[in-house]
Symmetry: C2
Subunit: 332 residues, 2 copies
DNA sequence: TTGTATGCGTTATCAT
DNA sequence: ATGATAACGCATACAA
């Protein structure tokens, strides 16, 4: 089932059939009609690979997120995908699973598939196939995270501002010991948020006890472990600040298991908002990004790069959403 | 940067270079070494499109989920992806967003990309491009859901058993009025679970009041709306059964907004388990599937179909996980 | 406007 | 074991 079959049935040459089907050049109304009918009757569908091979444009872009099971990245993916669809690009979504090796595997796949461009929420030192993407001159955009030493346009959140909002909020409530559940230093957001935490603690004159700082991996189990460690300290924190939503989930469970109550016994603020956090009892105070906007903008930025338009990095603001997990105004 | 460049640098013909790079036929150790070195030096990466065009095997499979932002489908995707990787297939993940039009858009994309096979969690009546996939004879597997009138191997959960477990559990606790928050009838799991609910209610002699049955769309807002309706009835239910996790989330929020407490004032059981449900206060009683296993098995089934091996549909059991949202043994 | 012929990068066939 | 060459399905330059 190729374009030859369509051309034969329509009684025209493959050239004419091709022109009609790709909707480009000049064709007669008569030919147009006959080709369309023939294609319809045969259920013909052009071979995107052959088309791309010939025209050096695949109309496909790769999107590599760190963890699809993290609602934050699922939202990014959703936003990016919708934006791509609006420009009739298909998105190939891949999942690095917070694993540098899998990141390389999928970058490799994108490269061999000859996608028109790649969006990635990167991790690691920027070795491996990120350099290969650069060498291949495949248009590249970072989303949420960046990697030092890469001159790549990016769409990120203002992590420093977000952390400052959270710490200021807790300080205003009278907390002096804020336990920090941080992300891995192998990820730019992990580093940025950690530094911002230290700066904010200093700025607001809070305890800068090293015992108050823990490190997780942006997954819930590590959040639980970090919380256990924090609460077991000699002078446990009165408030917890989790650097991402999954670790906040872990913290939630650990606090409950220790027979304490979020809001009443210990305050909790999470970075990243997920729908569910609104519905909890008590609802969670968060520093929110618009993940969907992050994805949309990253995709539009990528399409700009692909089409040779100027592309400048963007930093989106975060905003504090105060709910009862920090104010303690629970219904109890 | 093509295989010709590699061949030239290695001082061999393109034929030999191709043979070495695809690792297939007989090649001399000397040629192997020279080609590998040349490819390495040039940073050569084969063009998957050209390769697929010639060999009629793309080593890519399409996975179309109903909603990536639903953790259940994110887990399915993760399981499928890992299984594909183990057989060195790349997974193209697409998101139908619970929308039949988008489902068709991505099926179309898969077809034009000439993927080797497709896994889909389908919705709708099975018109549109599902038929086109069938006509194109592209290997197809359903996961989680099915569509009537399609003879397609599938991996699904035993919905009837799951609902029965939940209703039996609630009945044993003495509930006679169980409010049901159902899924859309356009989805097979929505229909199966609704029927199972009716059957289980009859079997256990519970109230079969029509007022106790509501319909949502597998998203949280609809769960909240359904809950509001149920609780506003003349004789409100003492227990709620939500047909998926997102609608359970909506129920959670609505109950809280009405000043009632899950577990103490009204029991809640959800179908689908998500990590977060364990960590809630109170933890949620669920009827769980192993979403990851669902994805893995669907992928292995698809690879069986692709390779012409026999492929039989599988139904995976669900299991009841009792937590405090139904027993009311909350810490309060 | 239409047809013919060439090439995209690769693998497969057929020689040698 | 290796080289030369055709073919995969399509778009396009060129000729008509």
């Amino acid at each position: 089932m190729t374009i030859r079959d369509v051309a034969a049935l329509a009684g025209v040459s493959v050239g004419t059939a091709s022109r009609v089907l790709s909707g480009n050049s000049a064709t007669s109304p008569a030919a147009r009609e006959r080709v369309r009918v023939a294609a319809e009757k045969l259920g013909y569908r052009p071979d995107a690979r052959a088309r791309a091979l010939r025209s050096t444009r695949s109309h496909a872009v790769g999107l590599l997120v760190s963890d699809v099971r993290n609602p934050f990245f699922a939202d990014i993916a959703h936003g990016a995908e919708q934006a791509a669809l609006a420009s009739s690009y298909v998105t190939l979504l891949a999942n690095a699973n917070e694993d540098t090796a899998q990141q390389d595997t999928y970058l490799e796949a994108f490269l061999t598939q000859r996608v028109d461009g790649i969006i990635v929420a990167p991790q690691g030192e920027g070795g491996g196939n990120l350099r290969a993407v650069e060498r291949a001159r495949t248009p590249l955009v970072f989303v949420d995270r960046t990697v030092d030493g890469f001159d790549v346009p990016s769409v990120t959140a203002d992590n420093a501002q977000g952390i400052e909002l959270a710490v200021a909020h807790l300080a205003a409530l009278g907390h002096t010991r804020v336990g920090y559940i941080g992300g891995p230093s192998s990820v730019s957001t992990g580093r940025a948020r950690h530094e911002a935490y230290l700066a904010a603690v200093a700025r607001h004159g809070l305890d800068d006890d090293a015992e108050l700082v823990t490190v997780g991996d942006f997954r819930s189990a590590s959040g639980a472990a970090a919380t256990a460690k924090l609460l077991a300290g000699r002078r446990p924190p009165t408030a917890l600040l989790a650097a991402d939503s999954l670790m906040a989930v872990g913290a939630l469970g650990e606090v409950r298991r220790q027979g304490r109550r979020i809001g009443a016994d210990v305050a909790l603020v999470a970075l990243d908002d997920i729908e569910l956090f609104r519905e909890l009892d008590p609802p969670l105070t968060v520093v929110a990004h618009d993940a969907r906007a992050l994805g949309e903008r990253a995709m539009r930025l990528l399409l700009d790069v692909i089409d040779g338009r100027p592309a400048a990095s963007q930093v989106l603001p975060m905003r504090l959403v105060v709910r009862e997990s920090s104010t303690g105004r629970s219904g109890r």
